[in-house]
């Protein structure tokens, strides 16, 4: 196990995610400048002299905003994926474990799932925002709810595989009840699949948060958010393109990072590839 080589995707993805996480963590204790402080004298300040990436039309330091924006991004991602995993996994496991005699349970769960799946996350967020007021919380909940079906499906498929293994059959024969089997045998064995799903969903959540903030349905101003930084840079796209470049790059790299991490983890944790490598 310890001798397995780490693949390139995993390392690159891990590094990119690490940078984002580090930036977010550091932003709690230190940023170069106050990211929301308006400074008319420093309007559209060029990069340099303590302002590594320059400042926007409000004179706010771009680097500081990016760092705090990373925090917003991760926060949304963690909560949204958390909601999806906590709700979706039990549903998927229950559906996957339902015996043939109770096939209707599996059907019910999965068809309701399909219904939710039909709603795009963005639409759901815009809807929730219109009813409960736009904000980070509604955005997180909407993205989370929209991601539930992905987890449920993956969990169900993986559970069904586990349910036909010998050790589960043995546990059943020994008289273990469903919940005990789920906790003892199913969850540990589908964990790797879920981690991969979480990583990929995280990337989608980041993109969705950026899109929502861009549309004005996400994080409220002036809390820095990559999506809103992009939106605010729009009118300056021709005169000061760097204002759009940095948050755009941040979003792209963070999404790439989480996707690579997910891919890498899948390869790394896949038992078939594991045995193939010996």
């Amino acid at each position: 196990m310890s001798g397995r080589r780490l693949n390139l995707g995993l390392v690159t993805g891990g590094a990119l995610v690490g940078v984002v996480v580090a930036a977010a963590l550091v932003s709690f204790v230190w940023t170069p400048h106050d990211p929301t402080l308006v400074d008319a004298a420093g309007k559209l300040r060029e990069p340099g002299g303590g302002y590594l990436l320059g400042a926007d039309k409000f004179g706010r330091d771009t680097l500081s905003q990016l760092m705090v924006g990373a925090r917003t991004t991760l926060y949304v991602g963690v909560v949204a994926v958390g909601i999806a995993a906590v709700v979706g996994t039990p549903l998927g496991v229950a559906a996957g474990m339902a015996p043939r005699s109770r096939g209707w349970l599996s059907e019910l769960i999965m068809r309701v799932n399909d219904l939710v799946f039909a709603f795009p996350a963005l639409l759901l967020a815009v809807m929730l925002g219109a009813v409960y007021g736009a904000g980070t919380l509604t955005a997180m909940i909407a993205i989370g709810v929209a991601t539930v079906p992905a987890f449920a499906r993956v969990a169900r498929a993986a559970t069904m595989q586990v349910m036909v293994t010998d050790y589960v059959l043995a546990a059943r024969a020994a008289g273990r009840r469903g919940p005990a089997i789920a906790v003892r045998h199913v969850l540990p064995n589908i964990g790797s699949v879920l981690i991969v799903q979480a990583s990929v969903s995280f990337a989608i959540a980041i993109l969705a948060e950026a899109a929502l903030s861009f549309l004005g349905f996400g994080t409220r101003p002036p809390t820095p958010s990559w999506g809103r930084m992009l939106q605010e840079s729009q009118e300056l796209l021709f005169s000061t393109p760097r204002l759009a470049l940095w948050p755009g790059l941040a979003i792209a790299l963070a999404v790439l990072g989480f996707n690579l991490l997910g891919d890498g983890l899948r390869d790394h944790l896949d038992p078939k590839l594991r045995s193939a490598r010996g």
């Binding site: 101003p221 300056l236 021709f238």
Partner: protein, 496 residues
């Protein structure tokens, strides 16, 4: 669909130039009707009934264009005859006798007579639901003398009456045309409603029965954009001919090429007000309100939030009004003074703003500057117009807001205790009343005092005067230099 629109527009352009060769004076209705123009706006009206629905977007689209009043405002803010050929004022200034234009019909075909004047002005009191309808409380009665003469009797002399008559309050409705105002406006104006694609555009077609000079553009399409950049792009790519009000002033340099675009920069009646809820803590305390005014660096705000376009004002009077005085010096930027006024206390307040570009940009500057003196403003953008009007304007559930008050000569809104400012100072009401009743000189003097009182009381803070920034394709003429009436007047617009 859009492509077809462009071809029609191009066709109109060619025909238009041909007609111009023959001299623009003798243009007949036939060729004029071919020309079409599309104008970009933000904030689509919720419906088309400005008698029951607040919001500036409806009169902006319909007044003067679809509805006409007895009088109208010209570019310099002077009152000009429209459906009334002339009017006589009695020596006691309480009786106005209007002589109406003959041969005027509504777009429905119904003739316009003194009965419609009696009907329309009477309706303001009985059917209108707007806050500003109180401006007509001064009317005692409206009588028909004969078909073309209407007599309005006031309870007391009023300087503001004729002016109010030029706003949407004075719009003339047909007695048979008010059944479905929200969808089917019927007026005497040069245009009538062609089609309304909700969420997209309103098309106005020339009214073939119009009594006056036919407008140059046979069709005007008002296209509504949620997004400032989308509106800019529409002009760059030829989707629209005019941006009625630039919503992203930093982007103006895209339109710098004089061979392709014309830019107009003038002033408006629009005071961008930082509204403070005078009716509940913390801003029921004058000191807290004054602290806010001292804490804001207005020059910095205008430079960052709106690219320095616009003008700083210190009270509810735009420079185009005769009683304007420079009040920007009343509360110079002084954070130390603000802290002193707050007495070391800190506050957290709800800043509920419309989700419009100027409000979102200004709010971030206000928040940052208030944070320096110990006021935490939680920004909450609400969807405009519906949500904002409901929560802030109707229910008054806010501490602080930012909105552009575009109505002309609208200082009177502060005299209404139930208006969402919840400002209550009887002295202010008295000044406005005596200004309205007195001579012209007294009006000017009193209103100057009233503006000073508002500023001293810090009834609100005035962030800046909204600029009239219009960008159009080169060759579009008739663009208003200043936007000081409630409507965007399409009648003079033409493409060369």
């Amino acid at each position: 669909m859009r492509r077809i629109g462009i071809w029609i527009a191009l066709g109109g352009l060619l025909l238009g130039t041909a007609a111009c060769g023959g001299g623009s004076g003798g243009r007949s209705g036939g060729t004029a009707a071919k020309e079409s123009l599309s104008v970009g706006f933000v904030a689509e009206p919720a419906n088309l009934d400005f008698t029951s629905t607040e919001g500036a977007a409806i009169p902006q689209a319909l007044l003067v264009n679809v509805y006409e009043g007895l009088v109208k405002l010209d570019q310099d803010g002077r009152i000009q005859p429209l459906l009334a050929e002339k009017w006589d004022v009695s020596p006691d200034r309480k009786t106005y006798t209007f002589t109406l234009r003959k041969n005027v019909t509504f777009s429905s075909g119904a003739p316009f007579t003194a009965d419609d004047v009696v009907f329309s002005l009477g309706r303001v009191r009985t059917d209108w639901k707007l806050k500003i309808k109180s401006q007509f409380d001064v009317i005692d009665k409206v009588d028909k003398k004969d078909d073309t003469t209407a007599v309005v009797t006031l309870k007391r002399p009023s300087n503001g009456f004729l002016y109010a008559l030029a706003t949407r309050l004075g719009a003339m409705f047909s007695r048979t045309g008010v059944a479905d105002l929200a969808n089917k406006p019927v007026g005497t104006g040069p245009y009538q409603l062609g089609a309304w694609k909700r969420g997209d555009s309103i098309r106005l077609d020339a009214n073939p029965k119009y009594w006056g000079t036919k407008p140059a553009a046979g069709t005007v399409t008002l296209k509504y954009f949620k997004d400032a950049t989308a509106m800019n792009n529409a002009l760059l790519t030829g989707g629209i001919d005019v941006i009625s009000s630039v919503q992203a002033p930093e982007s103006l340099q895209q339109f710098a090429d004089p061979n392709r675009f014309t830019t107009v920069e003038g002033t408006t009646n629009g005071e961008v007000v930082l509204s403070l809820n005078n009716g509940r803590p913390p801003f029921d305390d004058k000191k807290a309100r004054q602290a806010v005014r001292y804490a804001i660096d207005h020059k910095a705000l205008l430079d960052t939030a709106w690219a320095g376009r616009g003008k700083l004002i210190g009270s509810m009077v735009p420079p185009t009004d005769p009683w304007y005085e420079d009040r920007t010096g009343d509360y110079p930027y002084d954070p130390a003074k603000a802290k002193e006024l707050l007495g070391g206390k800190t506050y957290t307040v709800k800043m509920r703003i419309p989700n419009l570009p100027y409000a979102v940009a200004s709010a971030q500057v206000v928040k940052s500057q208030l944070a320096q003196v110990g006021i935490t403003a939680d920004i909450e953008p609400l969807e405009f117009p519906a949500r904002w009007l409901d929560v802030v304007f109707k229910q008054g559930d806010y501490d602080m807001s930012i909105i552009n008050h575009v109505e002309p000569r609208d200082m009177g809104i502060f005299a209404d205790k139930s208006y969402y400012f919840r400002y209550d100072n009887p002295a202010f009401g008295k000044l406005l009343a005596s200004a309205d009743e007195g001579s012209e000189q007294q009006q000017t003097d009193d209103l100057k005092q009233a503006a000073k009182l508002l500023s001293d009381d810090a009834a609100a803070d005035w962030l800046f005067l909204f600029p009239n920034l219009i960008v159009a394709k080169k060759g579009v003429t008739g663009l208003p230099q200043n936007a000081i009436a409630e409507s965007f007047d399409f009648t003079g617009l033409a493409k060369q």
